[in-house]
């Protein structure tokens, strides 16, 4: 690195100064908001889950339909321009539930639609949600493999 000495000296101390003066987030407030927003979404989801549990033959189908319903709700709230404000309010409380996953797909689709339906909307739809699916599948396969091998080893 070809820099003059004063700059390097200044930089060393500067990192400390920036860290020290960084605005401190109001941790209890932000966590409470995440708790309330995330809890409320799950609370609403419980009604959906119960509805399908009473009507579907197996729990697996009830789970699948609950996820599908909540995803639709997330997409709808995104299309109405509401979900980003929910994210501003609740932070991870809005991002963590599956509605946030749906929001990330719909937001990318709606935004990049402006570059066309194929290379914009479709190509960019999984720009945020993709990693979750990729690592979810990789982790699911590896976990299934390891769990089965352990079971076989245990006899």
């Amino acid at each position: 690195m070809d820099r003059d000495q004063t700059a390097i000296e200044g930089a060393k101390d500067y990192a400390r100064l920036v860290a020290q003066w960084a605005p401190k987030p109001n941790v209890p407030l932000l966590i409470s908001r995440a708790f309330l927003v995330g809890g409320s979404i799950c609370f609403a989801g419980q009604f959906v889950f119960d509805y399908f549990r009473q009507r579907q033959p197996t729990e697996v189908e009830a789970i699948a339909l609950t996820l599908a319903t909540m995803i639709s709700a997330g997409v709808l709230l995104t299309a109405l321009g509401v979900y980003d404000h929910l994210g501003e309010l609740g932070g991870m409380g809005a991002a963590v539930p599956i509605t946030g996953f749906a929001n990330s797909m719909a937001a990318a689709a709606i935004d990049f639609r402006r570059e066309g339906m194929v290379l914009g909307m479709a190509a960019k739809m999984f720009v945020i949600a993709g990693p979750v699916i990729v690592y979810g599948i990789v982790a699911g396969i590896l976990t299934g493999l390891v769990a089965t091998l352990l079971r076989l080893a245990a006899g």
Binding site: P25, V27, L30, I31, A34, L36, V37, G38, G39, S40, C42, F43, G45, Q46, F49, D50, I63, A64, L65, L67, A68, M70, I71, V75, L76, T78, G81, G91, M92, G93, A95, V96, P97, I98, T99, G100, F101, A102, M105, A106, I110, D111, R113, M117, M121, I128, P131, V132, Y135, G136, I137, A139, G140, I141, T143, G144, L145, V146, A147, T148
Partner: protein
């Protein structure tokens, strides 16, 4: 009672992730969501996460950890049914419907809606 636990458990998972996001500022929401998904998938290796779902219902099901857990559950169930083939065919068994719904509705949303900012 399940409604209470759905609220509390779902809220706690979100609060924990918010805490991590504030503690480790360099992690983007993408990193955090991937981390939580993988955690859910691993924890469910022996059906542990499914027990949390029995206890807290949607509170455990809806966070993306539930998404990861559902992938593992699909894999395990398909393996029981089909053998090793299920390792791959099971991945989207439970979440496939959700992803398909997301793709379909997002496409429709993109056609009828514009970003509001």
């Amino acid at each position: 009672m399940i409604y209470f636990w759905a609220f509390v458990v779902g809220g706690l998972i979100c609060a924990l992730m918010e805490y991590i996001s504030l503690k480790f500022q360099q992690l983007t929401p993408g990193h955090l969501l991937v981390g939580l998904t993988v955690t859910g998938a691993i924890v469910n290796g022996f059906g542990l996460y499914d027990r949390l779902v029995e206890f807290a219902g949607a509170g455990a099901l809806l966070p993306v950890s539930g998404f990861g857990a559902a992938i593992t559950r699909g894999v395990m169930e398909e393996m029981r049914r089909l053998g090793w083939e299920g390792l791959l065919t099971g991945t989207l068994e439970l979440v496939g419907l959700g992803i398909a719904a997301g793709v379909l509705f997002s496409t429709v949303a993109a056609l009828v809606s514009a970003p509001r900012g």
